[in-house]
Assembly symmetry: C4
């Protein structure tokens, strides 16, 4: 998670091993017991947070596309769509960040698994929460703009043609794009997204202050949407793309949403996963690997007050648990 | 209030009960006395802060609509209007945040009452301050652009037609919108607004740092305006909508402002109130309820220095008094 | 100044009177001596900071107008001009904030004098620095775009007509505007500007964190430009308007820059001064006056560690020296 | 570097000389040894960070130009290009800031050498890393949009004409611009860039908080692009301009990229270097030189706790090592 804080007694346990006073130890023991009991509760609350965060992300993001398309560009433009996904991610991370890490994206969760920051058994649960959240977000947009959809489409929901509305919810490739080009696009785009998220949340790098990360992370989307959005509209997120696509399949657009454009749908699902891994590996190899070993540092100042110790330690831990749910 | 700080001796009292030294107790006692005396003063200064904050919100927000409409879109566009309400809310919260919590919106105040963060007897006083502030803000916009209004309208202030100016001050529904659609729109929009405000100010979640909340809260408006603004222009706030509507009724637009569009006016008054409650309940049930109990935590580290204690405590208190006036 | 920090030994002196230990006192004494010696140096460095900050403000601000006008709107639009002044003010405050308070505006300096946050004898020196900085900034814009000016105007620098370029540097009123309307516009606009600056830098309100104030202050300009810019383009600042106007008078536009529009030039000089005072008085009466008296607070916790004391004290002092040069 | 933190044991050594306890000294000694061993490692990791940061800067920046040009302005506009470079710099600094200082620009590195904040022997290594990063970024943009390039150009990559694409990667002057005008443009633009970077990272000025600097630094680019972008499109950075230009020369655009516009290419290489020096000298002479001498301050409070001492010291050191790689 973006910041462990109150919610992670288990890490505090590991930490206090170093400087154990008797009262401390007893309370730590209690904490460990507590920890085992609350594990189940932890994954449940993380599920809820990822669900709600992804819901808001899609409500803002797809909502801004809907406003632009349904108003025939009179109340929106490409830039407002970019800002819709930007603010959607900001708010989604504010909602889920302190509980589940605010991944809101299976590609990010997978990258965290690869880096050892998310336990692998939690990965499918995160993905389900994200998919359901995105599905619900798409339903929210449809409900919000039901009247406008009916007026715009005269009731005929379609993926192609002049009154197409399918692209409000899920990505479709530009005409110029090849399958390979689309896949490369998603790998590069998601790779950069994960790379920047890791930099922003890396307390051993310059790192955004606690509580400012959501704003900085949102700005990544602004940058990517503006520079890498022309091929297929920067899905970058299997849940954000597949969830709403499933919704449209069920809500009246039909199976065309999967078959269109040579079964394009799988590219924004698997491309981002590969991209997320790539971004994580690149950041690890080029930056994170070369940070000075913090264990040395801990060793070097055994005389300093506990207060400071804790800071060091938490910055070390941050590295491993940052944007994870631990 | 967004952060208790200097202005809330009463909470500090409750807190210092835990570690009472004799001098401390005496001074606490004095503080309690003081507290009783200043209660009346508190609600007065909260009234002034809500008034001034809402004034600035409406001055910026409705001002940006006026600039766009009166210049016939040459000096404004939808995005500048969105940014007008965004910066208006940011500045309004900077003005009122440290005194009254910076609600600036009866729907937010009601949500705070529901969550126990605002005493119910203060609610009507807040609402009156917000209404008066919004009314004054509308008057300010009219005064600022009096010359331009006269030129644009040739002196005929109307709600419909090509030279309509009523929508500068209050919301009117798009042609496609049904009554139900409008109500749902206001419930969803205000629900998301309150949800995100609660996330941003929740110190047990990732939470924006003190003094950065106004910026993050403003960005919610940017997101909503871009993604949920097409139906009726995101009023989301009974005071922001009803106050200026009352002003227009009195300043020359006439009772048409209430009767137009099947008496639309009550939807942006009652929709947001329901929406605010909904958002508060959703955030509470899905996120806040599952935060680890901070009382446990306080129990777990009785040996740590007072300094830290205070931090914990204030983060706990933040939860209850955040965006409230204590 | 926005934050006293290293540069204000004199205030630290006053503060340490309360808890005087012998070594402390001696060093304080030395500091006081030092203080007297450096007073002259202080006003000199404040002069330089205000000069450089205002130079950057005008370079960015007028530069963005120049880019928009000279490219005949192909490389700029109203929004980019707004963002030019916004980022200009942000950067100007980063440059001058820690030294002179980053007023960059005689109206702000005057408001600080009224509030007792700037010594009156420093006021004219600040104003001269600001005027010179704005003049130099205008010269910078002219130098930067000299080739473009020559192409655009064919060498004929004029204030009116299709190839007018005078409004790149200084404000001229819209056709609809009366003298009274213009004056009211400048009073309201500058009043809101000062009001929001005071809120953002008031550490007893919610207040932006140290180092974030310049970003928040810049956003005030974004809001005002979008909502109150239609009458005459938000000069809001006697130096920013008069300095570049003087430059144009001398650089080839002639005395027409003063005579045009019924000698409009004096309104953006005197309007903002009245507006600044108004904003300061409103903020003081409605918000600042009602903050709990911090001297009480200091009295209430005499037992707490010096560390905390200092914090309280500095927040108190912040109130008085904030955005001033001490 | 933007903030020394964990990665700079050598500076911590100098600092702890002042208050040496025996254990401390021993560990410092170890640290010094360590330091000598890791010097080689340091420059290697700084190389990687500058490479990756500049890669992201160019990927976002040139990517946003590509999106605008290749979509024939339907999916981009001048403002999105400005925001592309803005967010690109923000993210590049987040990636490299904590390791190498996040210069991402030979002009910034040279300014740091002049100010004694970067050792001169590191300068060429930084420049090579930046050039390679920019070259790789251009290749990334070409790969990402390969399909779109082929469609747009029908396979003919050219620098001039209606389907020109060379200006996606490197700057070319506007028709109105003279050689002298172009050189002055680059000197002023880069001078202001370096001036503002120095202000934002100067902890003895108001200074952005740790981790917020990248956002503030990015906004400089937004301001410059909007106000000084009309002459030749604000390259401001020899690596950002020459690297992609080299890529285009090799990838099919041919040597025309160097010969066009009277061999324009050398101006955005040498202009920024002169500009960077100018900006550094101006900031030093007008602002930094006049900060109170911090050594005095250290002297003045020998009785205060080590904790505070460290703060002072680091703020002093920040001055010298800020945005450097130490």
């Amino acid at each position: 998670m973006l910041y462990g804080g109150v919610n992670k007694p288990q890490h505090r346990f590991g930490q206090s091993v170093f400087d154990c006073t008797s009262e401390q130890c007893v309370s730590d023991h209690k904490r460990t017991m507590k920890h085992r009991c609350t594990l189940k509760h932890d994954i449940f609350k993380e599920f809820l947070a990822e669900f709600l965060g992804t819901f808001v992300l899609v409500l803002f993001g797809c909502g801004s596309v809907a406003q632009t398309v349904l108003s025939r560009n009179t109340m929106g433009e490409p830039l407002t769509i970019h800002l819709g996904f930007t603010t959607g991610l900001m708010m989604g991370v504010y909602i889920a960040g302190g509980v589940s890490g605010g991944h809101l994206n299976p590609a990010v969760s997978l990258a965290m698994v690869i880096l050892g920051k998310l336990k692998i058994w939690k990965f499918p649960i995160y993905v389900i929460a994200q998919l359901l959240g995105a599905f619900a977000g798409a339903a929210g947009v449809f409900g919000l703009y039901y009247d406008a959809f009916m007026e715009f489409t005269s009731g005929i929901l379609s993926v192609t043609g002049i009154n197409a509305t399918g692209h409000i919810f899920a990505s479709y490739p530009g005409r110029h794009l090849t399958i390979l080009g689309g896949f490369v696009d998603q790998v590069i785009g998601t790779g950069v997204l994960v790379l920047c998220i890791l930099a922003i949340t890396d307390k051993r790098n310059i790192g955004a202050p606690k509580g400012v990360e959501p704003l900085a992370i949102g700005l990544i989307i602004l940058g990517i949407s503006i520079s890498m959005g022309m091929n297929c509209g920067y899905p970058l997120n299997p849940a954000r793309d597949l969830g709403p696509r499933l919704f449209t399949a069920m809500a009246g657009w039909g199976m065309e949403v999967f078959s269109t454009a040579d079964h394009w749908w799988w590219i924004p699902v698997f491309g981002p996963l590969i991209g997320g891994i790539t971004g994580a590996v690149v950041y690890f190899l080029l930056i994170e690997l070369h940070h000075s070993d913090p264990s040395e540092k801990a060793q070097q100042k055994p005389e300093e007050e506990e207060d400071e110790e804790e800071d060091d330690d938490s910055s070390l831990r941050d590295k491993y648990e940052m944007i994870t749910m631990g």
